[in-house]
Amino acid sequence: MDTALEAGDRRLLEVRGLTKVFGSLKACDAVDLTIEKGEIHALLGENGAGKSTLVKMLFGTLEPAAGEIRWKGRPVTIGSPAEARALGIGMVFQHFSLFDALTAAENIVLSLDDNTPIMDVARRARELSKAYGLPLDPFAHVGDLSVGERQRIEIIRCLLQEPELIILDEPTSVLTPQEADKLFETLERLRAEGKSILYISHRLEEVKRLCDRATVLRHGKVVGHCDPREETAASLARMMVGNEVQAVVREAPPSDIARKPLLEICGLSREPASPFAIPLRDIWLTVHAGEVVGIAGVAGNGQGEFFEAVSGEALQTGPGVVSICGHEAGRLDITGRRRLGAAFVPEERLGHGAVPVMSLSENLLLSRYSTDAARLLGAGGVIRAGAVARAARRIAEHMDVRKSGEDPEAAALSGGNLQKFLIGRELDRDPAVMVVNQPTWGVDAGAAARIRQALIDLARQGSAVLVISQDLDELFEVSDAISVMHGGHLSAPMPIGEATFEKIGLLMGGADAGAPPGERVAEGV
């Protein structure tokens, strides 16, 4: 298809000196990037390294301050996503923008600029889904679909525009290992057709496996171009972070801590609060002092509902359904549970774990005003601003939170730095029970290692830690036992010594917990 081009000029997209400045921060500083036809090009970097900013400029949602974008050798200005699509650039976002109540085909029609009849769209979507091995029913309601299937809608929506360059932002973060394998097959097929892919990921192993070339960003600058196949995961991580990533150390739990149950969940069930919520079905789980229990599962299988139930944002029917440090807590709200010694970090940082427009010190108060009332509040509920600011500073130092200014708004921090602060906010209390949902979601390798180590250390000091995560690598790194949540059910915890990616992956896909694992052999895990 590119015979018209000279063999030496296979360059599809060329970026020269692209710069974007936010206030005093250079989010992208003279970035150079070349993507050739028919290659899968990885874009690697820590959180806040400028990956999203770069991609937004390529997709027309941000305007570069300086620099040049060349498309097939011609300089172009990309002023809007519509212009990007017209050039032949498509994008699949990390966060899907789909309406739950509409069908897949209706969602696709909404994103098209012309008035194509819906039956045509459905037909073309079905053809594409066949051609690329992405099984999808165009008339299924999005609310009924799994996350993997929703991603397929996004990919097909993107392919319908017949792009020559497809940008994928962390596509595997929500998939089971088996679903990820399927996606890789599709991407390899697209590459074989001569399409180019810009692949953004933190998962160094899959970058090594899939990508032809990689561009590594650090602090807004390109620190190197490399062939990921010739690198090791450690050497890639070193390029991203700038120094060696501290490997997470997990020793066996010391035997001298009496295995006292600190968090007990006895027969937790919950009816769905909204039409698209997942009901929880008879969940039993005990987390003992000194151990980390991981809960694996594909997103949207009840983890959010489970977190709300355990944290007390949703109350239980009986007081004994949830016990914290031996006290019945099922009828206590989140403040009552915090007073018993529990701490919680939700999945969503902005808008759930933190108020975006409030400063870090105010966000510290958000979860600590009751447990630390003696230090943070004076008579009559007057806030002791000095004490709050000191505590916020201590946490920022301890967790190495990089921020602009003394006490910036939460929304001004990068995702990884805010997450470090939110984890640090709870660790600062030395909680007896810590429940974390997606502790390192979208967090760079360096910060993630730090957060994981902090969770293990907390457990080894005698606390009970419950980690809900979609990232299996992470769970295998930190957990002493792993349970799998699927469709609102929780499997029995599997000691880490017995657990394998394959066994957990099958449970995540909905295989019966009782069936002997290994009957269906998944490749590549």
């Binding site: 200005t77 017209a86 944290s311 509920g381």
Partner: protein, 376 residues
């Protein structure tokens, strides 16, 4: 050339402070244009409107009389709006507060002791708070839109007052005028400094309430709770704050303060109930709350400005013969410009030189031939 709004990384402290002044400036300019279109000399008109009422002691007293209810109501509304409760019904809460507070002097006119006035104030607050609790209950219990329910309850309150003063509460010695009997001496809110003008203790209440609410909002956990729930309900739940209790708190505080304003107005400025006891204070206070940046101290200043718009309207009617509807036009323009200027707090305006972009756009559009020309 193209004008763009670019989101600021953090909200601008500078524009938070100056945006009300920009709005005031734009209102004055628009007002001058309006007066010229009406065929009046804009300089004279603005002088009579904004300066003349400030030149005499008695009219400063009138300013305080008009500002008191605006500040009291505005302060309460600011707590509602900060907690994301859109109470549009302060006018109704004002009326019901006035009615509840008037029970003693009207129904029991012979009950004359020194504690009648404090009791009236308490009953006024309770009446307004109870009336504010209705949209709160509907919102919490049935998820009813509080904008509609609180607004509609204004008309219910107005008609209820109308019925009272024409029916059961009509002054038996009043020659069939639709008015209640005059309040006896123990039921009248005294003037602050009676030698020089009419300003009553309602203005003092307004200042005390503004400072107290400012302290609660800026320095205490309760104020923090209001702001957290208003900005991010889910984070509020994570913090352990109750959304339902906050709806009641905000509506009943605003209702109570509107009720206090109502009984102060009736007992201090009017001295009886009539079919109409408010020139729209409850609605104007919405402008006051926003012009004051939802900050109680800012609301004191904004209340004085809006009170001036009432006085100026009357003065302009007398001096230059324009309709008193001009006051409403000014208030409307002011709210419009306040809300527009607030954009500058979160966005900055950037004027991109059209030529560079257009050239770039053409260079790209010509070969591709399908790039939409959206910007010129």
């Amino acid at each position: 050339m193209r004008i763009e709004l670019v989101k600021r990384p953090q909200h601008s402290a500078l524009f938070s402070a100056v945006s009300p002044f920009i709005a005031l400036g734009l209102t004055v300019i628009a007002g001058a244009i309006m007066f010229s279109l009406l065929g009046k000399n804009p300089v004279d008109a603005l002088y009579y409107y904004f300066i003349d009422p400030l030149r005499e002691t008695w009219s400063l007293h009138e300013l305080a009389v008009k500002a008191a209810p605006l500040i009291l109501i505005g302060v309460g509304l600011s707590v509602c709006y900060l907690s994301n409760n859109w109470n549009i019904g302060a006018e109704g809460q004002f009326i019901i507060g006035a009615v509840a507070g008037s029970i003693l002097p009207i129904v029991f006119p012979d009950f004359q002791f020194w504690f009648v006035l404090p009791l009236m104030l308490v009953m006024g607050i309770a009446g307004g708070a109870a009336y504010g609790a209705i949209p709160a209950l509907l919102k919490v219990r049935f998820n009813t839109n509080e904008i509609l329910s609180s607004l509609m309850l204004v008309y219910v309150a107005q008609l209820f007052l109308d019925w009272l003063v024409r029916g059961p509460w009509r002054n038996p010695e009043g020659y069939n005028f639709p008015e209640t009997r005059n309040f006896h001496d123990y039921a009248v809110l005294p003037e602050i400094w009676s030698a020089s003008g009419r300003a009553h203790w309602g203005f003092v209440f307004a200042l005390v309430v503004a400072v107290a609410v400012w302290f609660v909002m800026a320095r205490t956990l309760k104020g923090f709770e209001v702001k957290v729930i208003g900005q991010s309900p889910r984070a509020g739940r994570f913090a352990g704050f109750s959304h339902g209790r906050m709806v009641f708190f905000a509506f009943m505080l605003a209702g109570g303060l509107a009720g206090l304003a109502g009984i102060s107005e009736v007992s201090g400025a009017i001295g009886q109930l009539r079919p109409s006891i408010s020139p729209g204070y409850g609605f104007t206070a919405i402008i006051v709350a926003f012009l004051g940046r939802l900050n109680p101290l800012g609301i004191v200043a904004a209340g004085l400005v809006l009170a001036l718009s009432y006085l100026g309207g009357e003065a302009a009617q007398i001096s230059i013969g324009v309709s008193d509807k001009v006051a409403r036009a000014f208030q409307g323009m002011l709210l419009f410009f306040v809300l527009a200027s607030d954009t500058l707090i979160h966005y900055r305006i950037r004027i991109t030189s059209g030529r560079a972009r257009a050239a770039g756009g053409r260079a790209q559009a010509a070969p591709a031939g399908e790039v939409p020309h959206g910007h010129a």
